[in-house]
């Protein structure tokens, strides 16, 4: 009962002229990879559950697309969530969700890989499965249906989506995805049953198959534990990392339509050593691994020749912490001078934005500058462990404003534990002081855009025990800022509390949350990350229908010994380390950058064999000498797959060709 590509094309011809920005739905872009459908045995699709405009700006998808297509016997195509108007047209005309490259219905693929960078995309995932005519529940799929896997940062707490996903990839996908492809090859050759495929997947380092686990709860709703339904499934799933960042993709697709980030991206560094207590990315992306300047320059050279983009973006969690950032920016500026190439350097760390760096970026037309002080009093800075002084911020602002920039964007966060109104007042005062610096240099043209987000406690962070700030307090703080930041040179943006609540119950949800997500989707929830389309009532009704109370997830201080729904996902950072850091935050005790001093967060012992294989300073973690009496390990401890697995290579399979 599959709708053919020809039929889809016929229907699209009438539909596309009627929808907004139809160029999102056509494919056919420069550098897309189209392989012969009939003769390519393994068919995969990467699905980004948001609009094309956002998905095509995502580097993760580009990396995996490149990777999968580099295998001669694999094709990889893309699909994105259609906007509401397109969805209505598709449903009315019977057009299923299809791939952009060849317009094949998604349910014709062997594997659907969802990239989920944040949890507000969950209802879009369900909607995509529904539009693809794939049963939403993993338990209802059989050999006729594609395998549904999901990865991305949201996968570190996979439980809310556990009923709907066959297998999660926890961590970095660059190696494990090839191992998953190997399982698909084996499955094809042996006509394996779906349950056998899932068992094979569960043995891979970094893969979590929720069907083999069942959570059980105390009477009060907190998690008592997680039972393993298949004894060979690992008790805990350790995240997957690569010991050295593989070559950066250089043949990016060039979109026809404008997208959110329309440029050539290069990831210069992965991980972060700062240890900000609110930040999930900093905790789960450890350890820090850099690409070399030479690698990055080569990637940019080839990448620009392949794409013709007018802007290059150097990406990482804190780009100015990249050791050779100065040298890198100068090298790029020089190599492409006269070519009008823009260099974009988001995620700058205030402490490492040197005068020289600002100077090097001057004239690069980087647009606005963005800095993220987060807090404005020393007390709060020590609580959240982001000890950037106001003097540093003002000094850097001065350097920026005096070099021709007239707009500065500042990110602050409210709602942290132990925050008082006077801390919020300090945010307003600091923003105004920065504007004053701007006015000195640029007069009335100076503008400061103040983005104040509401802190939401995240899994796998030192603040994962914390309750969300009360809605009354959040609103009082926002009102204060609105009152104080009225100057025409200031623009304030903040998160409406409904958005915050959604983020909060999803981020620390358990498997029961899956039913809430399903019920919310059934009631029309889609594109929850977009303010205009968030249907809060649908979610409220879904909670009522499921007999659950959202405040159990959002507004509850967790006891120190509570078992969390994500505890069986190991980010490499010990829970005891996080708890200690949380206790330090009570004392307002900051923790310095772990490049200066290793605090034994847990990464090193888990991944020491990978670390030992790299040169001295390739990772920021120190080198630990292996104690001679311990055997060399080929896999980290904690993963059950310590016995050799037939058919599953730990190295890249020999058949893999470089693109």
């Amino acid at each position: 009962m599959n709708v053919t590509p020809q039929e889809i094309d016929r229907l699209l011809a009438s539909i596309l002229p009627r929808v907004q920005k139809p160029g999102r739905y056509t494919g056919g872009e420069h550098n897309q990879v189209v392989k012969d459908w009939a003769s390519t045995p393994i068919r995969t699709a990467l699905v980004f559950p948001d609009l094309y405009d956002l998905g095509m700006s995502n580097l993760g998808i580009a990396v995996l697309y490149d990777l999968l297509n580099s295998c001669a016997d694999v094709l990889c195509e893309r699909s994105f969530s259609p906007w509401g108007d397109m969805e209505s047209q598709m449903r009315r005309a019977g057009v299923p969700l299809y791939s952009l490259e060849t317009h094949h219905a998604l349910n014709e693929f062997d594997l659907l890989g969802f990239s989920i960078p944040y949890d507000q995309l969950y209802t879009n995932v369900l909607n995509a499965l529904d539009l693809a005519e794939v049963p939403l529940r993993a338990a209802e799929r059989d050999e006729r249906h594609p395998l549904v896997i999901a990865g991305g940062h949201a996968a570190y707490n996979p439980e809310p989506m556990a009923p709907f996903v066959d297998a999660f990839v926890i961590g970095e996908g660059e190696e494990v995805l090839l191992e998953i492809v190997e399982v698909l090859r084996w499955a094809r050759e042996t006509s394996a049953r779906r349950s056998a495929v899932l068992e094979r997947l569960a043995r891979l380092w970094g893969v979590y198959v929720p069907a083999f686990y069942r959570p059980f709860y105390h009477a009060d709703g907190t998690l008592s534990g997680v039972d393993r339904l298949w004894q060979d499934a690992p008790r805990v799933v350790l995240k997957r990392i690569v010991s050295k960042l593989p070559p950066s993709p250089v043949k990016m697709i060039v979109p026809y339509v404008d997208i959110v980030h329309n440029r050539f991206p290069v990831e210069i560094m992965r991980g972060c050593t700062r240890g900000c207590r609110f930040c999930q990315a900093g905790m789960i992306a450890r350890p820090v691994r850099e690409r070399t300047v030479a690698e990055i320059l080569a990637a940019i050279d080839t990448g620009l020749a392949n794409t013709g983009f007018e802007e290059v973006a150097l990406l990482s969690l804190s780009s100015s912490d990249y050791r050779d950032i100065q040298k890198l920016v100068a090298a790029i500026a020089e190599r492409y001078s006269g070519r009008h190439l823009r260099i974009s350097l988001p995620s700058l760390r205030i402490e490492t934005v040197s005068v020289d760096l600002v100077e090097a970026l001057r004239g690069q037309h980087t647009g606005g500058f963005t800095l993220a002080p987060e807090a404005a009093t020393e007390r709060m800075r020590n609580v959240i462990n982001k000890p950037v002084s106001s003097e540093q911020l003002l000094s850097v602002s001065r350097e920026i404003f005096t070099r021709g920039w007239t707009t500065l964007k500042l990110y602050f966060m409210i709602g942290h534990p132990r925050e008082e109104l006077e801390d919020v007042q300090a945010i307003a005062d600091l923003a105004k002081a920065v504007l004053a610096e701007g006015r000195k240099a640029a007069g009335r043209r100076a503008e400061v855009h103040v983005g104040v987000s509401t802190f939401v406690p995240k899994a796998h962070t030192p603040f994962q025990w914390v309750s969300l700030d009360s809605l009354e307090r959040i609103e009082a703080k926002q009102k204060l800022l609105m009152r104080e930041l009225r100057d025409p040179g200031l623009k304030l943006s903040w998160n409406p509390t409904q958005e915050t609540m959604l983020e909060a119950w999803l981020s620390r949800g358990d498997r029961r949350m899956g039913e809430v997500i399903y019920e919310a989707w059934r009631r029309g929830a889609r594109f929850d990350a977009w303010q205009d389309t968030l249907r809060y009532e649908a979610w409220a009704e879904a909670f009522r229908f499921c007999g659950l109370d959202p405040s159990f997830y959002t507004h509850r201080d967790r006891p120190f010994d509570e078992v969390f729904p994500w505890d069986h996902m190991d980010s490499g950072v010990r829970k005891r380390f996080l708890l200690q850091d949380y206790l330090w935050s009570f004392e307002g005790k900051p923790r310095i950058d772990c490049r200066e001093q290793c605090f034994a967060c847990g990464i090193l012992p888990k991944f020491n064999n990978l670390r030992a294989g790299q040169a001295g300073d390739a990772w920021f973690c120190p080198v630990i000498q292996r104690r001679p009496h311990l055997p060399a390990q080929t896999l980290p401890p904690g993963s059950l797959a310590e016995r050799p697995l037939e058919g599953v290579a730990l190295e890249a399979p020999a058949g893999r060709e470089k693109a």
């Binding site: 056919g28 026809y256 339509v257």
Partner: protein, 220 residues
């Protein structure tokens, strides 16, 4: 020495829904991939000197579009054309590239009209269409509203006729193109009550005014 070139190109199915600005950006990137030395305008927001002759309405393909571009070096037409051929995206086809001598009028000023063909996809044109066309052509004015402004569509339509075809026949039109006076095919279709019909619209050619020869087709 800055050298000006004129390219004749086609917009194919993959780029049917590419807007004018995005088309411009696509050309810029193609030129960069080809490694050609684009000339840039001056000023703070320097942009590559490329001028597309006439904006194509979203949803149309086209057979013979024109653009002018400026390079910082005088390179041979063949060399430039070949470099571009290798880097064209799936939605563009380059049919001709010629070096132009300056001074010369803006391409946009030279273009005065365009020919479009609309082909129905699913059903034949409704039976009353021939009459509708006759009525339209017989009117001295056809007032329409677009973006809150009134305008007279009739003088913008220089020719309109139904042509027999393989399946359902087609509607062919010639409309004026230019500043303040651009006839749009979707407006004509709407006027003839065909707005709900699924059609494919193609711009067959542009017409340039030449002082001596009158109208010159872009695909000549």
């Amino acid at each position: 020495m800055v050298q000006r070139y004129r390219a004749r190109f086609a917009i194919l199915e993959p780029m049917r829904f590419t807007s004018h600005l995005d088309l411009l950006r696509t050309w810029e990137r193609t030129l960069r991939r080809a490694g050609l030395p684009l000339a840039y305008s001056g000023g703070y927001h320097a942009h590559p000197r490329i001028q597309i002759g006439a904006a194509l309405p979203l949803g149309c393909t086209a057979c013979a579009e024109l653009l002018d571009l400026w390079l910082e070096q005088e390179l041979g037409e063949g060399e430039v054309g070949e470099a571009l051929q290798h880097e064209l995206p799936p939605g563009l086809r380059l049919d001709r590239l010629a070096a132009l001598s300056s001074p010369r009028r803006d391409l946009q000023e030279e273009i005065v009209a365009g020919d479009y063909t609309a082909i129905p996809l699913e059903f034949e044109f409704p039976p009353g269409l021939a009459e509708g066309v006759t009525r339209f052509l017989a009117s001295s004015s056809v007032v329409r509203e677009r973006r809150g402004k009134s305008y007279d569509l009739r003088p913008l339509v220089l020719d309109l006729r139904i042509l027999p075809g393989d399946r359902y026949g087609s509607l062919s039109m010639r409309v004026r193109l230019g500043e303040n006076a651009t006839g749009r095919p979707d407006e004509v279709l709407s006027c003839l009550d065909l707005q709900e019909l699924a059609v494919r619209v193609n711009r067959d050619r542009l017409l340039l005014r030449d002082a001596r020869a009158g109208l010159i087709p872009s695909d000549g």
